[in-house]
Amino acid sequence: MSEVASNHYLEGLLKTYSQHSSDVTPWLSQMRNEAVDRVGELKIPTKRDEEWRFTDISSLTDIPFQTAQTIPQLQPADIKHHYIQEAATRLVFVDGHYASALSTINNDSGIIAGNLSMLLPSYSAKIAPHLGQHVSYGDNIFAALNTAFLHDGVVIIVPQNISVSSPIQLLFIATQKEVTSHPRCLIIAEPGSNVTVVEDYIAGQEVAYVTNAVTEISVADNAHVNHIRLQRDSNQAFHIANCTATLAHASNFQSINVALGARISRLNLNVQLASEGAECAVNGLALIKKRQLADTHTFIDHIKPHGTSRQLHKCIVDGAAHAVFNGKIMVQPNAQQTDSSQTSRNLLLTGQAQVNTKPQLEIFADDVKCAHGATVGQLDPEEIFYLKSRGLSEQAARNLLTYAFGAEIIERIPVISLKNQLEQAVLEYTQSTES
């Protein structure tokens, strides 16, 4: 991509910026102004940047994506089928704007949930130490853009020792063509709390749009957060997401990321084990076909001793799709007794499918247990033969094995209705494969 195109594109984006800088808290407007300045200094990455080597997003600049000017009035009936039955609290955003009529907030359990502009006046003291503090944009143009356009977002605060039994659903619906939305989520789990959050991105219609999301999660001492991220955007859409979780003493973070949609998707997931004894499990599944590209970059940073991390990332690639995985695990110099393992498994279903995987270890401490592994392959002919010997057709055997490959991740989702929904999606995917 030429520099001119990139700058032109960014300028176009920033044009709409001023419309949102209404009177807000001074620290927030300062943060946004800094981000705007940073956007001015940065460029859209190209394949020449190591971090974007396999993901060409130059087509992003072909369309002048703007933030939505008008918001369609959706009826609950239109989106009801996307609801998770178990969820007592549900926040719905349409094209990046909060739709209060569609949202349900249940405060019985003691949680504080809502959109940023509503909660900011009363909870500024709780929000300020976290908002924009976990995802540092640095050279990351997309995180900077999101921060520049930060006018609203999700805030969930789980107070000390509160355990929320039902999951919280965050639903982001894109309905308009050639529109950019910048969803923002902030999840603050205070000491000893326990919460499950489902972040769900869906398409209202099959058109091209851009989702540029940022999620920040703070897991305080002894807190437990289950975070499920579902990306079901339109097959013409771009989905770019930056997600950072910061883990305090003896906290636990369970993350499951499923990518089904988007023409080009990119997830940067950052987990900082910032205090002793933190634990995390990061699971990922990319299920793609045709000309889709799914790129997942994860970074698990063991900063303090006695941390544990487990990672399993799977890609199923059909058609001429392309999956990219870059998993970096860092063990900092004093993070002794770290126990970390990472596995990247990739299934190629056709001759045109492509995988680039790079599991990466950087270790600066000697008393650690670290292992990683990666495999790329097709379905095992012996396994197919075994199933055929049991009377299954070739196609049925292949579908069953592909399904089982993906189900390993889906099964880890702690929300039953969502698990069933996704299992169905994997099943449909296997039945539509081209092989």
Partner: protein, 478 residues
């Protein structure tokens, strides 16, 4: 780490001495005239000069690579003397005529040539500061039609082979250091195994960098014709110097149908002192082309020396059913930095590759494994297995793994595994309970850790490597 053990780790470099032989040194700096001078001194044909100049022009347009995980002050390429040769002497017919001082140098290094040649049946092509001084066993090899000589000799006697193959595996503009080497290489080894010949002995060269301030630009070319097979050994030690010396070698291997090349290296160049001062910069491009069907290229390396090691012996698996192998042990101590690994590029059908890499870091050193496994769309049934293990000794060092896996063919099967470990207290306790002291226990554990690689080395190298490792790391654990 106990004091006694510290002392052992910090043993001074035992091969540090300078042999005083009169050298003929070209003035410092690099320009077209330097290249013409090298070419003229070596009495080279016109096409080789053109090759050098083309590489030089490419080099001018290139910049030093920045992606590797090593740090060093910027190299001033105009401060290097690109040609140093012992004063021309009459041609030697036998070993007895070799300069006794030179022979003593090898004695000090523990490689008496007569002994080594006689006992191990190894033909040693001694490269001493870029010019081949003596070659043994040449006649015996000539009987079966094998050409084993210095590359400058090959340029004079077999120009057609050099012209046909030089730069075909590592093109002149391949990378910054390869381009530099192509422009200024002074000497190196050339080996040609004719059709159907199994080389009757292991071939060996002994590299040594002498003359402070002169970088060495070795060029090695090995060609195995159809059905031929050869095992080639390269071993290095260097005297102690305080200014950094640049070493940018290029090694090219070509294996035709059913041919088999095994290339083994033990590298123990001066690594700098315990404060990271001095030491060799070892920036090497090594690549093998498995061109024919069923051909095989195998790299084995034991990297213990050099302040900075930057090398990726690679295999281009073009022939159907060809095999690529890479076995590596990289040991870093004090302030050494190693960024090493391999590239396996699968192009032909049913190609197979194996990567076994063991990294040991101690002191303040950093060692990285950087590897690429690429399976192209045409490589049906390709198979790769990679294993890279690291061991950290002490909490000031670092181990890094950067494996790139790129697969464009669904019938391929690629597996990668990596682990990190340390020498456990319980392991040491077990040894001491059996009456084995900590020193020996560590040596045994490390040798066990590297066993998979040492097994691939020819016998006498395996012995040398085992000793070298114990010597490098003795007492780093306590």
């Amino acid at each position: 780490m106990s004091v006694a053990l510290q002392n052992l780790v910090n043993q001074p470099y035992k091969h540090g001495f300078v042999t005083e032989i009169e050298s003929e040194i070209a003035p410092k700096g690099l320009n077209e005239d330097t290249i013409r001078l090298i070419s003229f001194k070596k009495n080279e044909p016109e096409w080789l000069l053109a090759f050098r100049l083309k590489a030089y022009n490419k080099w001018l347009s290139m910049t030093e690579p920045q992606w590797q995980n090593v740090k060093h002050p910027k190299i001033d390429f105009q401060e290097i003397s690109y040609y140093a040769a012992p004063k021309p002497k009459e041609k030697l017919a036998s070993m007895d005529e070799v300069d006794p001082e030179l022979l003593r140098t090898f004695d000090k290094l523990g490689v008496p040539m007569h002994e080594r040649a006689a006992l191990a049946g190894v033909a040693v092509d001694v490269v001493f500061d870029s010019v081949s001084v003596a070659t043994t066993y040449k006649e015996k090899l000539a009987e079966v039609g094998i050409i084993f000589c210095s590359i400058s000799e090959a340029v004079q006697n077999h120009p057609e082979l050099i012209q046909k193959y030089l730069g075909t595996v590592v093109p002149v503009g391949d990378n910054f250091y390869a381009a530099l080497n192509s422009a200024v290489f002074t000497d190196g080894s050339f080996c040609y195994i004719p059709k159907g010949v199994k080389c009757p002995m292991d071939l060996s060269t002994y590299f040594r960098i002498n003359t402070e301030g002169s970088g060495q630009f070795e060029r090695t070319l090995i060609i195995a014709e159809e059905g031929a097979s050869v095992s080639y050994l390269e071993g290095c030690t260097a005297p102690r110097f305080d200014t950094n010396q640049l070493h940018a070698a290029v090694v090219e291997l070509i294996a035709l149908d059913n041919a088999d090349i095994k290339y083994s290296t033990v590298q123990n160049w001066y690594a700098g002192d315990e404060n990271g001062v001095g030491g060799i910069y070892n920036f090497v491009t090594k690549r093998g082309l498995a061109k024919g069907v069923n051909s095989r290229i195998s790299w084995t390396q034991v990297e213990t020396g050099s302040a900075i090691t930057w090398k990726y012996p690679s295999c281009i698996l073009r022939g159907d059913n060809s095999v690529g192998e890479f076995y590596s042990v990289a040991v870093t101590n004090n302030f050494q930095q190693a960024d090493t690994g391999t590239k396996m590029v699968h192009i032909g059908k049913n190609t197979r590759s194996t990567i076994v890499s063991k990294g040991i870091s101690a002191g303040h050193s950093n060692s990285s494994y950087r590897g690429l496994v690429r399976v192209g769309p045409t490589a049906d049934g390709a198979r790769n297995y990679s294993q890279c293990d690291s061991m950290l000794i002490g909490d000031q060092c670092g181990a890094h793994t950067f494996p790139y896996i790129q697969v464009q063919n669904h019938s391929a099967k690629v597996e990668h595994e990596a682990s990190t470990s340390k020498i456990g207290e319980d392991q040491l306790f077990y040894f001491s309970q059996r009456g084995i002291d900590a020193e020996e226990a560590v040596s045994m554990i490390i040798n066990g850790f590297c066993k998979d690689v040492f097994q691939q080395l020819p016998m006498e190298f395996a012995v040398e490597a085992t000793n070298l490792l114990s010597f490098k790391l003795e007492g780093s654990v306590g």
